[in-house]
């Protein structure tokens, strides 16, 4: 497991938001599993780190939570996207795409002459 890359600083929030957008209201465990699956099990996610991240997003008003019951009848807190969260997701997606595009161009450029 240790050879898998850790979650990049700052990207976890984006992943959480995107996951909730794609899946609808979801509990912490579900979000964690989904992120791992989506990454094709390439990412090593310490599930524990997810909860402070969720709390931060909730404090910032991007997501809201309420108690519910999971598919196999376990009590769980479900997180859903708020309107502000949707806006944040759009913005961060755009920013991230721009960053990766720039970085890709750099990497492509430095490959040529070498």
């Amino acid at each position: 497991m240790s050879d898998k890359p850790e979650v990049l600083q700052g990207t976890l929030a984006l992943m959480v938001l995107k996951t909730i957008e794609a899946m609808g209201p979801l509990h912490g465990y579900g979000i964690a599993r989904r992120i791992e699956q989506t990454s094709g099990n390439l990412l090593s996610l310490n599930y524990g780190t997810l909860y402070p991240a969720l709390l931060k997003l909730e404090q910032e008003g991007s997501i809201a939570s309420e108690w519910g019951v999971s598919e196999n009848n376990r009590k769980a807190k479900f997180y859903r996207l708020t309107r502000a969260g949707r806006k944040q997701l759009d913005k961060e997606t755009r920013d991230w795409e721009q960053t990766t595009a720039i970085l890709a161009r750099f990497l492509a450029g430095s490959q040529g002459p070498a």
Binding site: G30, Y47, G48, T49, S70, A76
Partner: protein, 884 residues
Amino acid sequence: MKPLRAWMLRLAGMVPNARRERELADEIEGHLQMHIDDNVRSGMSPQQARREAIWKLGGVESTVEAYRERSTMPFLENLLQDARFAVRQLRKNPGFTATAVLMLSLGMCASVAIFAFVDAALIKPLPYANPRELVAVFETTAGCPLCNVSYLNFRDWKKNDKLFSSLDAWSYANYLLRTPTGAQPANGTRVSDGFFRTLGVTPILGRDFYAGEDAPGAPHTVLLSFAAWQNRFGGRPDVVGQAVTLTEVSYTIVGVLPREFHFAPRGSTEFWVPLNDPSAFYGGCEKRRGCHSLFGVARLKDGISIQTALAGMKVIAEQLGQQYPDSNRGYSADVLPLTKVVAGDIRPILFVLLGGAGLLLLIACVNISSLLLVRSESRQREIAVRGALGASPSRLIRQFVTEGLVLVAAGSLLGLALASWTMHLLTALIPADKMNGMPFLNDLALNFRVLAFAGMITLLAAVLFSLTPALHFSLSRSREGLAEGSRGSAGKTWRRLGSKLVVVELATAVVLLVGAGLLGKSLYRLLHVDIGLQPDHLATLQVTIPNTNLTNERLIALERQILNRIASLPGVKSSGITTSLPLSSWSIASNIRVSGRPSNGERNDVPERAISAGYLTALGAKLIRGRYFTAADDDPAKPRVVILNEAFARKYFPGEDAIGRQIEYEGSHNRMEIIGIVEDIKEGQLDTENRAAIYVPFTQDWFASFNLVVRTSQAEQSLMSALAATIHQIDPDIATEAAATMTSVLDNSQAAYLHRSSAWLVGGFAALALLLGVVGLYGVVAYSVSQRTREVGIRMALGADRASVYQLILKEAGWLIAAGIVIGLASSVAAATLMRGLLFGVQAWDLPTLGAVATVLALAALLASYVPARRAASVNPVEALRAE
């Protein structure tokens, strides 16, 4: 917005919340259950499934911890924890804590309270619009540097001036207010029409005086002060338009001035009247250009400096001097900031007091610093242990800083509360008539400037008290804490720094003591100045006669009647009348010339008092030559006579016999024959030089308001009510006020009052400083003794006797005391030179004072060191060594 919202939530999260904790536990439990379910489904054993789930989570505890950190503010949380720890530490040592907090709050209280006075009196004494633009304008001659301007000159100034946006004038007026219960004296002020617009004050009710309302002959109108409106008219809103009778003249009330308005030079004014009656005052003297009765006040035009305005006014005065040489030659003009004129008297005193309070604060801070040093010295071991157990240096320093901050916070809050109380106490101690002259002190408050000042002190103290132990810590960290802290060698840092601090304390205490001593001596000298009269057994009373249909003959008859009736009162030995009591002012003056001497146009303005025949006898003045007035001199038909004071005779008739010679008012040819010379009576303030003055018979020139002076063989206080009653028997409409004994007139005179209050306050500071300094010294010596117990034990075991132990300890203390006293004496001469303006009859280097202070301090300090030295000498060597 988002970070702010998150921040607020986290701040709220600092409050412990059981529900949130429970929900978190539930959520993590749910998480684990779901994970375990999944794992079991994929074929793991229940134990394995659980272990894997927890491992994947990264541990339950650390998750909860990370979550908590996010939900609150770890930094603040730590700070609170530190603060709680600090409070616990400080409570473990209540003696140290109480001493430190008390000392800081004392220093804080003194400086904040005094600063509040400085703020009220010097920073914002004028409750007017743009007070910086306001100036006072005076006429000035050699004999009268800040003289009143005459009515006609004021009119010409106003016509010619280009540098003021407005120029106005005011003048005293005393009225008799007619009330249903008889006439009551009331203070008024006559002002030119734009006076309130110049100050930037608008009535809260009715209207201001309109332009031209001060033209002679304009209708009689009056503006009420807020207090007069409340007290005399019950605050009724329909007061505007009503009539009020002031000294038999009916005035229409046109408005009421705001509550916060005050005008310090006329603090007790109830009635503000336009200056449209120049013939009604001072016997119509205002119609003459030489009659100086007004005070000028002006607002500078934008961008015009006081110097420019002064130059402009001088030019105008010069032109007037050429135009009207008889009255104006030798007169120029002066322009001063109004603030300075209003609060000029108490300005130097407040600065001295602020300096004194600052020194007290310094002593307090030094004292606390050395306490903190001792404390951290004795905590070496604790710190070393905590360091060894893994506390990082920064964490330890943060602990010191927090402790300092907790101390400072407690001390400052207590100090602020004390200051607020002290301010009320001090203002309550100011008598009402003094308060009338300083109405700005009513605005005394813990306003934002005072709080900012307090905040600055707090900040400085916080830096000092957190840095001292932190510095000590970093200095001593190079040493082996555990070994060093064990016992034996007394703290080197302490020896190096701590003990030297007490020298600063002692020196500061010396400075304050010398200051107090000099001010006290000044006060004594002031109260024992030769005032040329015998103040004991002398009662005084101000009498005002309504001036309806008052003729010279009727006034003389009334005076005679009053004096005769009073003479028959039991115990009365003699009585008399004067236009102005001694110790008031030298400035009510006339321009005098010795008859027969050529005049080269110079002015000889000498104070003049109109007195009745028995006045000088009643005062107990000393006649040098000639005679006093007799009743016969009162007759206006007889040749005019005059009595000189010694200063006049010396100045104008040096080496000659003045008796029988004549003097005259400049410009008149009414000669007065000199019939007597009296020893100088202090007509002005106690701290002024005697000036040439003349006394003329009261009825040669009559006044409707005068002061009665009565000498009695009984206690003068008992005479007061009888005096007023006797006068009211003659005519109930005659107003009497300001009944006082001459002793109290002397004690309460402006100069004595100012000197007394500053002497007492600085004396109080000095007493506190002495106490703090001695306590500080005691602490230093006691600590040094406690550190040297083993050394003393060894010495005694080796045969040293008690005397040599005393010597050992007292020698160390003696050096500190000597250094403190020497440095202190040198600094106090410098400090006293700075405040020599407040000293009277005593030099800054007054040797008896310096000697007395040095002795007092040396004795107190030796006593403070003797107590611990005694303890050292009574050490049992066996026990001292065993204890080690």
